[in-house]
């Protein structure tokens, strides 16, 4: 019984969101058509985060508008 309850509880608890490192380990490699086979999640910002400027961002050094 205890085991059943335990299993039921386990089923009731939603999966926690994976941590960033964990997500990076388990995410399938995105087909970007490039040589870079890192998973897309590695470079994806967390919600609320500004996406980081990539090396190809010509305007990365531009002053901020206020």
């Amino acid at each position: 019984m205890a085991l059943c309850i335990s299993e039921q509880r386990l089923r009731l608890v939603p999966d926690p969101p994976p941590a960033r490192d964990e997500a990076a380990q388990h995410a399938p490699a995105a087909d970007t058509g490039s040589d870079d086979d890192r998973p897309a999640e590695l470079s994806a910002p967390f919600p609320g985060e500004e996406p980081a400027a990539g090396p190809g961002d010509f305007y990365a050094d531009a002053m901020e508008t206020v």
């Binding site: 305007y59 050094d61 508008t65 206020v66």
Partner: protein
């Protein structure tokens, strides 16, 4: 029936409370979509006019940009405002932003005051403890004929007080004082202070009135103007009969705004960061990476002699011409067609000669080779 386009300009005045509130609470503008030259040509006439109107207003309002000069002045202003948090009976220091025209000093003060206003309302709410509207900031612009009475009338007008232009200087001053206290004003920006002439009696009266206000109210004053030290408004060494102003000088902290410089590599990098910000915001079909930041770096520096008010001015009188003429690009040829201001023109010729001779450069070494990328969008058109 087509719906008439609503004017996109925000026609507010910062010298009234409602106008100031509009400035403080206005949402960021929506950048018009970038269309290719071919897409623009295919637009129906009304849609094309609307698109050009939107771009015109957008380009006229590029910025302000957080320049190093703005950051430095804001840090000093933060210190002064923070140091002024004594109780109302203590004498308050004031800040003076004193710089040549075209360096964005009014914009620097307004952006600081806007942030201050937003923080105060966020902290304490939109209504004071006594139930009045909270007005953390007052903003007034002096005129060439400002007297003590007219300055008090300006304060009353800012609050929208009935009879804001009736009564003598003292009566108007009392009305303004009541409003300042009731609305929990904490910051007062006084622009165009260079209109005050300390050699004239009314000019001295107003300057002394500032001292009285600073002594009386829990308010930090920010005075903005051109050549205020030279005019004797903030100097200790005053002529006979002007000694009373010396007290202002001891309580006012003067903050300068330097022009951009390209003598050093950090200076050139800053210039490029400024131009990148402008270029990034352009909505021209013929634009390409480096059109401004690389191709026009030398030219724009020479044209403006480093006083390019790109904190709030992207050489934008030229942008409508780029749209009207269909070039959809900013080029040296196009900019040459537009009259420069007289002050910059003489220096421009000298600087251009130095750039052309290779004796001077505005691009940093880290910027790499100049871009030769043609505009894909223009090519598509």
């Amino acid at each position: 029936v087509t719906t008439p386009l609503r004017p996109a300009e925000r026609a507010y005045t910062l010298s009234t409370r409602h106008g100031w509130n509009e400035f403080v609470t206005a949402p960021p503008r929506q950048r018009p979509e970038l269309l290719s030259a071919a897409q623009i040509r295919k637009l129906p006439e009304a849609a094309r006019l609307e698109y050009e109107e939107r771009r015109s207003v957008w380009h006229a309002n590029i910025g302000p940009l957080r320049t190093p000069q703005m950051r430095a002045v804001h840090e000093d202003l933060d210190d002064i405002v923070e140091a002024n948090r004594q109780d109302g009976d203590r004498v308050k220091g004031a800040a003076v932003i004193d710089a040549y025209p075209g360096l964005g000093k009014s914009t620097i003060a307004q952006v600081f005051a806007r942030g201050f206003h937003q923080r105060q309302v966020s902290l304490y709410g939109p209504v004071t403890g006594a139930g009045h509207d909270r007005v953390p900031v007052v903003h007034v612009c002096l005129t060439s004929s400002t007297s003590k009475r007219s300055f008090n009338a300006m304060l009353c007008r800012f609050f929208g007080l009935p009879g804001h232009d009736r009564g003598n200087a003292e009566e108007l001053g009392h009305k303004a004082a009541d409003a300042v206290l009731a609305c929990d004003v904490r910051l007062c920006v006084v622009d165009d202070v260079h209109f005050l002439d300390p050699r004239r009696r009314d000019g001295r009266d107003v300057a002394n009135h500032f001292k009285y206000l600073a002594n009386t109210f829990p308010v930090t004053f920010i005075y903005v103007g051109v050549g205020l030290e030279r005019r004797g408004l903030v100097s200790e060494g005053l002529a006979a009969g002007e000694e009373e102003l010396a007290q202002n000088a001891r309580r006012w902290t003067t903050l300068g705004v330097d022009p951009f410089e390209i003598e050093t590599e950090p200076g050139r990098q800053t210039w490029r960061q400024l131009l990148l910000a402008i270029e990034k915001d352009l909505v021209l079909a013929g634009t390409h990476p480096g059109m401004v930041a690389d191709d026009l770096a030398d030219y724009l520096f020479a044209r403006s002699t480093g006083a390019l008010r790109l904190a709030d001015d992207a050489d934008h009188p030229r942008l409508p011409r780029a749209i009207r003429t269909g070039t959809e690009q900013l080029t040296r040829d196009l900019l040459d067609q537009v009259r420069n201001d007289a002050a910059a023109e003489a220096a421009r010729q000298e600087l251009l000669a130095a750039f052309d001779a290779g004796k001077l450069r505005a691009r940093p070494a880290t910027a790499g080779p100049r871009s030769a990328v043609p505009s894909a969008m223009a090519a598509a058109g």
